[in-house]
Symmetry: C2
Subunit: 338 residues, 2 copies
DNA sequence: AAAGTTTACGTAATCGTTTGCGTAAATCAC
DNA sequence: GTGATTTACGCAAACGATTACGTAAACTTT
């Protein structure tokens, strides 16, 4: 920048202002500066700029695991959007670990990022770390697993309602005893889904059988384990609603292995609409969480809050879309039989 | 830092050195500095440090799309590894666009990242942008789709050999006319896979029928289209080897739709071992590309090159693992019939 | 014990931009 | 034509850490 200034017999100040399109610089000078910058292929040092401004054009994205279809899709759309505005994204994973989450946030503060988009790890129950970021002037947007105790914009799924709708669907298909697989119950997200499951039962005046409830069941392996255990326990049930597709898949595979007919003898419904859900035979009923919309909304909103001192926060809950597939279509089959 | 220095009646220089564990600082002073830093929860400004050092503790990762299982898994392991060493990762997507790739690299240079791990976009055929990064002292590692015309470490799949093995497998199963689906043929990656396919034919003295070759077929939709077109063309064939699982899935679904028995009338094999390949019925034969190993190796190697001025480059080609599944098991079925 | 070496820390310049303040020249009001 | 603005730019001080160089004090060597 010094060099450009020298060659143009002006000062770095002017060069800087010209490159930043400051209105205090005349058109003629701007053209000259830009032309020379182009000629020498000059690009300003991002760190010097960030240091001086106390802010960098970076958005931090914090998720439990990036190699989950749901999150990688969200990040895809975030990156796609913010990169158009000259921002870049820094990615951190919490692996569902609260301590790591705190450290991740601290790192992003060290980087003076302009904004943070975060899906809280499941065990997180306090948000002092988030508040610290906000105090530093960083805009925060929560997605997916959010805590309302801290006042930020958020975009989440209507977990309770989504679970209610799925459960209702299973009940309407004629399933009587529905097992429920959830994850870490310290998380509001799973509490909500369980609540929705209970709501549906209450509406239909059906008692909830706690023996059919299994927590900490997220992965395919855990889903298998839970399913085997439940079957071996002797408690009767004729359907499984899993808070995640992977655990649903586990249950599904155990049925196939044991020759339990899906959907006739056992109904299965998942959540998240993972890729494989529609591909297996019969396909698995699941709820789409609109990852694309979440990513786009989060990106749009965070830039708005960064650029507009007092942009209004948004508190959005998207209704997941129940996609009914073969794994829970008992009544249709019955009709055909008659 | 100034404040800490003042309180300890010393200078920022000493504080900086103490925090960085410089051997020039006595143990007593180090303890005092660190204690006070802890007390005030002081964390150094990353940008000031990067500016002064001309380098930031950031690794840039450039891939076509992050929401592909293969890439998100690689990135997962990269982030996991480098974050332990105090590095963080910045992610850029090229969307298979050369211009965007150039801009991405320029952005990472602006950020003075310490290293770049990149999977070149398919259309990329020259590496001036990569060389520019190297000239800036940035360590570069290529993964997956690499160009050997630039001298960097790389970790890739043995595309030719992998394709050869898959093709040989299909031939051994008794398939006579194997269609080949590939992607953008300007990319060395697909050229290699096609070559492997040809190798296998040559070994078995079987002529290659160019009418059975379809390029630019990556997605599920394109796979469907290609399959329909091929069937309608009237050219006879009894198997499909697709360079990607999604296109293989397209072919697979068209068979199901048209009632073409898999694997009896049509053998199918993909590449990449996507999640769904093992889940559909029959499961799809595919080759695992060891994404976990690629991520770990890339991360380990880039840190080595960053920390060791003259660490040796690695040029690694991992042999993909052919996972034979039902979609290509014709002979087994025949045996059962006899 | 004098000279040399090491240890532990201070001094001050530097990384490359940005920006509050100052000011000459140009423009405007009347 | 004089004073008041406005325009367009220069000056210089930041931003916060790092590091080459300098130097007292402590320690070695012979």
């Amino acid at each position: 920048m010094q060099d450009l200034a020298k060659e143009l017999k002006t000062t770095p100040a002017t060069v800087s202002r010209a490159l930043n399109n400051s209105p205090e610089i005349g058109e003629g000078m701007k053209k000259k500066v830009k032309a020379l910058a182009d000629k020498y292929n000059f690009r300003p040092n991002a760190h010097a700029s960030s240091l001086r401004k106390g802010k960098s054009k970076t958005i931090g994205v914090v998720v439990p695991y990036i190699n989950r279809h749901f999150f990688s899709t969200i990040i895809h759309y975030i990156e796609k959007y913010v990169s158009q505005e000259g921002y870049n994204v820094m990615i951190l994973q919490t692996e569902e670990n609260f301590e790591k989450e705190k450290e991740d946030i601290a790192l992003l503060i060290d980087q003076r990022v302009s904004g943070i988009i975060i899906s809280l790890s499941k065990p997180t129950i306090n948000c002092l770390h988030i508040k610290k970021a906000i105090d530093e002037g960083i805009k925060v947007i929560q997605i997916d697993n959010v805590l309302k105790s801290v006042n930020t914009s958020y975009i989440k799924t209507q977990d309770r309602e989504g679970a209610r709708i799925t459960t209702l669907h299973l009940l309407e298909q004629g399933y009587k005893k529905i097992a429920l697989f959830c994850g870490d119950m310290t998380s509001k997200l799973y509490q909500d889904r369980k609540q929705g499951y209970c709501d549906a039962h209450q509406e239909r005046d059906i008692p909830v059988d706690e023996r059919l409830f299994v927590a900490n069941t997220n992965s395919r392996k855990e889903g298998c384990k839970a399913m085997r255990k439940l079957i071996d326990s002797g408690v009767e049930f004729d359907a499984v609603f899993s808070s995640g597709d992977y655990a649903a898949l586990g249950a599904y595979l155990v049925c196939k292995e044991k020759g339990i007919a899906i959907p006739e003898k056992m109904g299965i419904a998942g959540f998240a609409n993972e890729h494989f859900a529609e591909l297996v035979t019969p396909a698995i009923t699941s709820s789409d969480q609109h990852s694309k919309e979440i990513g786009q909304l989060a990106a749009k909103q965070i830039l708005k809050e960064i650029n507009n001192k007092d942009a209004e926060l948004i508190k959005t809950s998207l209704l997941p879309e129940l996609i009914v597939r073969g794994s829970s279509l008992k009544s249709e089959k019955l009709k055909i039989k008659n």
